[in-house]
């Protein structure tokens, strides 16, 4: 055995130098080329060099090493000599592989070292992060080696073994790429693990087949090679991909009843049920659930996200990238769907010609009242000039259900949207220009006369009333990180504008649906202003002190809280991590106050820092999102019930 190892080593050792020397020369070529600014070559950085090395040099080295399995013995005529000695075929194969694989590893390590040191020497500011995964490419290189070894056991010409090895390696790479599309949605790091597994599987199959071919090999005859090759092809091309697809299918397609976190919660217009989107890292892991707010019964409906109720509460509109059999669509795009939750049926909506190219809907926004729906999405502009700016956003207005006739469209880089005036106006913020735009149901859009918005500004609107407010911070922070915020409120019907300013770390503004009141929340205090006079009506109401940090808040950020107006604008619910207060600005008093300290702060890692959310389900019933749990309770704090997730449903007396 030692003799066999020695012989292989002596014959193959020169090939160790190929990759390192090639890497060094490549670095030099890139360096010199960049110096001469020729051929549009980017400066030498580690990524570039390693990409070339991993993609080209490693596989080539591997194929050269692998071709030494049997083809060179046959071509040289020493095949008969070697086989005529009392050496077991398995031992022969093992000796070759035991020498080849370490040589491969050594050459990869050396070339890595050479590239690193050469790059450090040569480039101005070297960044040593690499784009592609070295482990995956190492296994791919192994696959190229195995392919060449397989070809080399079969053919008697070295050149063919090398060429065939390259082909087999390419096929492996292709299958891995094809499989990586379903595997991508299983989630990293499992995806990387699965890629490595697939490549290792290929390498094992190819090497084992080369062993089988070797064992059946005869001096002077080529019979007997066929069966192992056919088996290998079947396993490699059919069985292995099928197993991987089945595994990803099992991982992926079952509805996830273990909810990772709640991405979006939307109560139905009548408050009787709640639709929510449970989230994962990837859109394909989003499921839309329907929860009965009374009984707490819940079930997963469809894959999708960014969903909204139709105005009559009978249907859900949502965006999904689900394709065949629960896998994501093969082109990766998203589509708009309308689902009838009673009939458990859904239908894809054919949107009209969206602007540009490779457009897809990404978000959907329906007002609780009003008949229009806004669809926003991404597209790539057709002309190359605009294309340089990258992917763009668009927003189109439709009448709900009339998806073939857009009412109007807006096209820009960022989008924050609010409905105003009974769902007839859509208010956008365009941060690139600092403008607030309004898109009307007649298709026209206009810029609202606000002062230019800085990056941390935003616009809000009253859903039923004609008020739009813009909040902008000056950007100059004092020693306690407070800055001056200016709030302008505009009546879009008569154009009257009022403004005020607040000094705080942050400002959370909520206009009541009828536009009469403006609730301003700053750290640990909430004040309700009358929009007509812009004077405080209630508050400032203290929520907690800045230094309290016993309920999981970050020190200095204040107590976390949520604000929600009731639909008739009569009450404002203020839910903090400590108390629930119902405020009546017309009467100027707090109608009810209950403690929420019975709600435990979850220590889960999925959302270490979260803000509570609150919605009005009916006149006296509230829905509270507390981290990843949904609770219903009455405004006086009774009938507390966790209705979601199903496993954690409970009633607290």
């Amino acid at each position: 055995m030692k003799a066999l190892l020695w012989k292989e080593w002596r014959e193959t050792r020169l090939l160790i130098l190929v990759a390192p020397v090639a890497s060094a020369i490549i670095v030099a070529v890139f360096f010199v080329a960049h110096l001469s600014r020729a051929m549009a070559v980017p400066p030498v950085d580690f990524r570039l060099v390693m990409d070339v090395t991993w993609v080209a040099i490693w596989p080539l080295s591997a194929v050269l090493v692998g071709a030494g399995m049997l083809a060179n013995e046959r071509e040289r005529g020493t095949h008969a000599f070697l086989f005529s000695h009392p050496i077991g075929r398995v031992r022969l194969w093992t000796a070759k592989v035991l020498v080849h694989v370490p040589i491969l590893g050594l050459t990869m390590l050396l070339s890595l070292g050479v590239s690193v040191s050469a790059t450090l020497l040569v480039s101005a500011n070297p960044r040593l992060e690499a784009k592609s995964d070295p482990v995956i490419f190492a296994f791919l290189t192994l696959g190229f080696y195995a392919g060449a070894a397989l070809m080399s056991s079969v053919t008697s010409r070295v050149i063919l073994a090398i060429g065939g090895g390259i082909l087999v390696g390419l096929v492996q790479y292709g299958i891995m790429q094809a499989l990586s599309w379903p595997m991508a949605f299983v989630g990293i790091p499992h995806q990387d693990l699965m890629c490595v597994g697939v490549l290792a599987g290929f390498a094992v199959v190819a090497l084992w087949t080369s062993l089988r071919v070797l064992m059946r090999d005869e001096v002077g005859s080529r019979r007997g090679h066929a069966r192992p090759l056919i088996t290998a092809t079947i396993i490699g091309l059919i069985a292995l991909p099928t197993v991987v697809l089945a595994a990803t299918y099992l991982c992926l397609v079952r509805p996830r009843t273990d909810v990772l976190y709640l991405q979006q919660v939307v109560p139905s217009p009548d408050g009787a049920r709640i639709a929510l989107v449970s989230g994962g890292n990837n859109p394909v892991l989003n499921w839309i659930w329907l929860v009965d707010s009374g009984t707490g019964q819940s079930e997963p409906l469809w894959r999708g996200f960014s969903m909204n109720w139709s105005p009559d509460g009978g249907r859900l509109a949502f965006v999904s990238n689900e394709g065949f059999a629960g896998f994501p669509r093969s082109d990766g795009s998203h589509r708009l769907w309308i689902g009838d939750w009673r009939a458990r049926r859904r239908q894809e909506v054919q949107l009209p010609e969206l602007p540009g190219y490779a457009s897809q809907p990404w978000g959907l926004l329906c007002p609780p009242a009003g008949e229009t729906a806004a669809v926003s999405g991404l597209y790539i502009p057709l002309d190359s000039e605009a294309r340089r700016s990258g992917v763009r956003h668009f927003t189109m207005l439709f009448r709900f259900g009339e998806w073939n006739r857009p009412l109007g469209a807006l096209d820009f880089r960022s989008s924050i949207k609010q409905w105003a005036d009974n769902g007839t106006q859509l208010v956008h913020t365009d941060h690139s220009k600092g403008e607030v735009l309004m898109l009307s149901a007649d298709g026209k859009h206009r810029v609202l006369p606000f002062s230019p918005l800085p990056d941390q500004g935003y616009a809000i609107a009253s859903e039923a009333g004609p008020m739009v407010a813009a909040v902008s911070g000056s950007g100059k922070k004092d020693s306690e990180l407070r800055q001056e915020w200016r709030i302008e409120v505009l009546n879009i019907r008569n154009g009257l504008k009022r403004s005020m300013s607040v000094n705080a770390r942050y400002v959370r503004a909520r206009l009541s649906p009828d536009g009469r009141w403006l609730a301003i929340g700053v750290p640990n205090a909430v004040t309700i202003y009358s929009v007509d006079s812009m004077s405080p009506r209630m508050g400032p109401l203290a929520i907690g002190s800045l230094h309290e940090a016993d309920r999981g808040e970050l020190a200095g950020e204040g107590v976390r809280y949520a604000l929600a107006w009731r639909r008739d604008s009569q009450y404002l619910a203020l839910a903090s991590t400590r108390t629930l207060r119902i405020l009546d600005p017309s009467a100027g008093r707090c109608v009810s106050e209950t403690s929420l300290s019975w709600l435990s702060i979850p220590q889960s890692a999925s959302r270490p820092y979260w803000w509570p959310q609150v919605w009005w389900l009916s006149e006296d019933k509230l829905l509270v999102q507390w981290a990843d749990e949904l609770w219903t309770l009455r405004t006086d704090g009774t009938e507390r019930r966790c209705i979601f997730p199903p496993k954690r449903q409970r009633v607290v007396p």
């Binding site: 003799a3 012989k7 002596r10 020493t78 008969a80 009392p86 050496i87 005869e218 001096v219």
Partner: protein, 312 residues
């Protein structure tokens, strides 16, 4: 036609109906061989007769399509490694690793044989005049063959299989070869299976000869039996040479004006009688060398196959 010689030990090599087909070409058909222990077994045949294929099947390098073989009591298809450990094999113009030196080649090969004797290897090195530091690629054909023979002999094999080892060698080297083989023979219990073209030198050492033609075994018997049974009869006639002559085992007939030369492979009294019965005035019985025997047997086979075709 096989008769065991010497003691009743089991044959070293035994094949039953051994056959091998390459596509449609039948290289070896139904070979029944029995190589007695301790003999020098000559395996004669034309080029392409199937000698190398047979030897490869005996060593387990090729699998037979039909029939079975037994070498040293083991089946080559299953126990190839064990068989090759006890067999010394010299192939025709064996190509070895050019980049290794003679010494390195020896070091490489000896690790596979548990019975390798270094002293013997050194002795052979000296006797063959080989330089251990010379690269294999720089050796002449003769030196190459000597190295191959050294590798085959140095592990003291029970069975030595030689596949035309002396083709392309000059007279001197061939002599050296034969001398080394003779030495092997004189050691008790060793068997030599020798396939060669050089019939007359095989004649000098072989005591058993099998002739293979077109994949089929023609005959396998001791050399003395061959000599005794294959004779050339020269029949001289006073008058007309008869058209038909029936002599059993007739291999060939040559007609001249007044004489008929008949070669037969089963010469005995009966044959002599039928020769006399032809009415020849004088009959000469000529001994044949192995080479003549071989030419006649093989030629006769071709004639026989031609005749068979004509009759069919």
């Amino acid at each position: 036609m096989t008769t065991p010689v010497g003691d009743k030990a089991a044959p070293v090599i035994e094949t039953k109906g051994l056959s091998r087909r390459f596509g449609r070409h039948e290289a070896v058909r139904g070979l029944d061989l029995a190589v007695p222990r301790g003999s020098v077994f000559g395996f004669l045949g034309l080029n392409g007769a199937g000698k190398t294929t047979t030897i490869r099947m005996l060593l387990g390098l090729l699998r037979p399509t039909d029939g079975s073989a037994s070498v040293l009591g083991m089946d080559p298809a299953n126990d190839g490694v064990a068989i090759r450990q006890r067999v010394g094999y010299v192939a025709e113009r064996q190509k070895m690793y050019d980049w290794m030196t003679v010494g390195e080649t020896i070091g490489f090969v000896k690790s596979f044989y548990p019975t390798w004797k270094d002293a013997l290897a050194d002795d052979l090195l000296r006797r063959f005049g080989l330089d251990p530091k010379a690269k294999m690629g720089s050796l002449s054909v003769g030196m190459n063959a000597k190295v191959a023979l050294l590798l085959a002999l140095a592990h003291e094999p029970e069975l030595l299989i030689l596949d035309d080892p002396t083709s392309g060698l000059d007279v001197v080297v061939r002599r050296e070869f034969l001398e080394s083989i003779v030495q092997v023979i004189h050691e008790a219990g060793r068997t030599v299976f020798f396939s060669s073209h050089f019939v007359h030198e095989l004649e000098r050492v072989a005591d058993w000869v099998a002739i293979i033609h077109e994949g089929r075994l023609v005959a396998s018997q001791s050399l003395s039996a061959w000599r005794v049974r294959t004779k050339r009869l020269r029949l001289i006639f006073d008058g007309q040479v008869p058209a038909q002559v029936s002599v059993p085992g007739r291999l060939s007939t040559r007609r001249h004006e007044h004489e008929l030369v008949v070669t037969t492979q089963s010469f005995d009294d009966a044959a002599l009688q039928s020769a006399r019965a032809t009415g020849a005035s004088s009959i000469e019985v000529l001994d044949l060398s192995l080479e003549d025997i071989f030419v006649e047997v093989v030629g006769g086979q071709s004639h026989a196959s031609v005749a068979v075709e004509r009759m069919a």
